[in-house]
């Protein structure tokens, strides 16, 4: 078979919605795009542990503490599935970590914002996980098999997280005036960055067309963003809070909410390292990795010794 035959077989699978599996032939760019996207997604889970981890030791009740800890642990688990999915494409976890620590690989910019009050644990669950779910539900049918299967597991847990986040805010919104202010303040800070999570608008997203063709992506950034706005506005009414956008209003004709312009200058600045916590987040990850080197070396040395010992036992037995 020639490359062209392979390409045709690949295209046919994509068109027929047959999942691409690790051992199948795939175009180089498809592989590269997926490695970039899946590793970016994995890094987002791992870096995403930090802003919420910031409140584990200060959670306001034992139940909240346990739930938050379990949630952040889930994120670590998601990172693990995703790194494993990316590894099927021929890149190692260590290489991906290197790319993260050197700044070559990106992660979701939302995690470069600080978590300053307990209400942020609610807002992250409700808005940030809510926005992530919009993306991730679509990815459960992405064309690359291992990625799609990882997403199915992740989505189940994420929707649970989103409900937990909303429940934190709901509880607080039924509480005292100061708690309601805390909730509104969190919504004010997280709303716009959440909308930015869907990425640049379609006319500024050069990779979208190809990704849609490969069925890596199923919906455009703007389609998913609109869907998120439509459901979130309704949920916000239950909390009795307002979203910080004076232009937000129902458009009867379109059957959607109109919303104001996103500050793309802020978005690109945060992507490129100027967010309030970019430096701290990367430093925390790099520090954990560097401080852990001797531990990983020891674990490796020990497993090698064990192999050697059982090998010499085997040879004696023989």
């Amino acid at each position: 078979m020639t490359v062209r035959d392979f390409q045709e077989a690949f295209d046919e699978k994509i068109d027929k919605e047959i999942a691409i599996e690790p051992r199948d032939w795939m175009p180089d760019n498809y592989r590269k795009t997926l490695i970039r996207q899946i590793s970016q997604h994995a890094h987002s889970e791992i870096v995403g542990m930090l802003p919420e981890g910031n409140w584990i030791t200060r959670a306001p009740s034992l139940r909240r503490k346990a739930v938050l800890l379990a949630k952040v642990q889930d994120e670590a688990g998601h990172g693990l599935y995703l790194y494993s999915a990316a590894e099927t494409l021929g890149i190692s976890r260590d290489e991906m970590y290197d790319q993260l620590h050197s700044g070559k690989a990106k992660y979701s910019s939302i995690f470069n914002y600080p978590t300053t009050t307990w209400a942020d644990m609610g807002a992250i669950g409700w808005l940030v996980d809510g926005a992530a779910i919009m993306n991730q539900v679509a990815l459960c049918r992405t064309s690359y098999g291992p990625y799609a299967r990882a997403m199915v597991r992740i989505c189940k847990e994420e929707s649970f997280h989103q409900r937990q986040g909303f429940e934190i805010l709901l509880q607080m919104s039924k509480g005292t005036e100061i708690q309601r202010r805390m909730v509104q303040d969190a919504i004010d800070r997280w709303w716009w960055p959440s909308l930015m999570m869907f990425g640049p608008s379609d006319d500024n997203s050069p990779n979208t067309a190809q990704s849609m063709r490969w069925r890596v992506k199923r919906f455009t950034n703007d389609e998913l963003r609109q869907r998120f706005v439509d459901v979130t506005v309704e949920q916000c009414k239950i909390l009795g809070m307002t979203l910080p956008d004076p232009e937000l209003k129902w458009n009867e004709e379109k059957g959607h909410y109109d919303f104001g312009a996103i500050n793309w200058e802020e978005f690109w600045n945060v992507v490129n390292g100027n967010g309030p916590c970019n430096k701290e987040r990367l430093e925390a990850r790099a520090k954990a990795w560097e401080n852990g080197k001797w531990v990983r070396d020891a674990a490796f040395a020990y497993s090698e010794k064990r192999k050697e010992r059982s090998g010499s036992k085997d040879s004696k037995a023989a």
């Binding site: 030791t57 520090k287 852990g292």
Partner: protein, 271 residues
């Protein structure tokens, strides 16, 4: 009854403070899989803490009013008690100050590096395994039930920490030195586990455990693992104590400052 409450609090405080310490690792572990494992252990201890606190709160709420007053040095708790309000698990965790906490000093020691965390876990898990094996037989059915559930968890914790002691001890030269140092540094905090308080002595034999009697077995188990890890048993007979009677290291104050921040800054609210 008072001793039963103090005894139960000792167990809940151990589990909370230790679980809290482990939770500080979340997101910063040396290996992603171990980050997850450590968080699991932390969650197990938090669960144990909650069960014990709930039991302690129930016992406390059943006391006659006169006996309730003065049991704690906490101003916030004392106010609740004066108003005739009942208390719950969160009141016990969030409204008492350090001198009301009865956890072992070893549980409040800082995480340090991975070897320090492992050494602390290893000493404490090995003890807890033996302890819960006995507490399971308690005449206090609540304590017995929590012990039975916890024993399953601690059986895993003990294996996990012992495996790490061996891996680090018998890993590289660097890890060997670090593991030995950590075992030595935490050694003076192990004696307190077996030195019984009045509440413990009062409870031993029926609802509680004679922890002094666990020492030989504990030492034997620890020594076996240390030997397999190619390490040496720490020497030194002087032991720190005080935690179980409310006399703590400087570390506990900072743990509580963080742990209790919201409840202290925004008192009386539901979260």
């Amino acid at each position: 009854m008072k001793n039963q409450i103090l005894y139960t609090l000792q167990l809940s405080d151990n589990a909370l403070i230790y679980g809290h310490r482990l939770s500080e690792w979340c997101g910063h572990g040396p290996i992603l899989e171990q980050d997850i494992a450590l968080t699991n252990i932390s969650l197990d201890y938090l669960g144990q803490a909650r069960s014990f606190y709930q039991h302690a709160a129930n016992l406390f709420n059943a006391l006659p009013q006169a006996e309730k007053q003065g049991m704690f040095l906490s101003v916030a708790l004392e106010e609740k008690i004066k108003k005739g309000e009942s208390i719950d698990e969160d009141d016990l965790a969030y409204l008492r100050d350090g001198w009301d906490f009865r956890n072992l000093l070893i549980t409040e020691q800082p995480n340090g590096d991975w070897a320090t965390t492992i050494a602390r876990a290893f000493y404490f898990d090995t003890f807890n395994y033996l302890f819960y094996t006995q507490l399971k037989k308690s005449t206090d059915l609540q304590l017995a039930a929590v012990a039975e559930k916890s024993l399953k968890e601690v059986t895993y914790h003990k294996r996990w920490s012992a495996e790490w002691v061996i891996r680090l001890g018998d890993g590289t030269n660097e890890s060997h030195v670090k593991m030995q140092t950590a075992l030595n540094d935490l050694w003076p905090f192990t004696g307190e586990m077996f030195r019984m308080t009045d509440a413990e002595k009062d409870m031993a034999g029926n609802a509680g455990v004679d922890t002094a009697a666990l020492y030989d077995l504990w030492l034997q188990e620890v020594a076996a693992v240390v030997d397999e890890a190619t390490l040496k048993m720490p020497e030194g007979a002087w032991m720190q104590d005080g935690g179980k009677n409310g006399r703590h290291s400087e570390h506990l104050g900072y743990i509580l400052a963080e742990l209790q921040f919201i409840q202290r800054a925004y008192p009386g609210m539901e979260w």
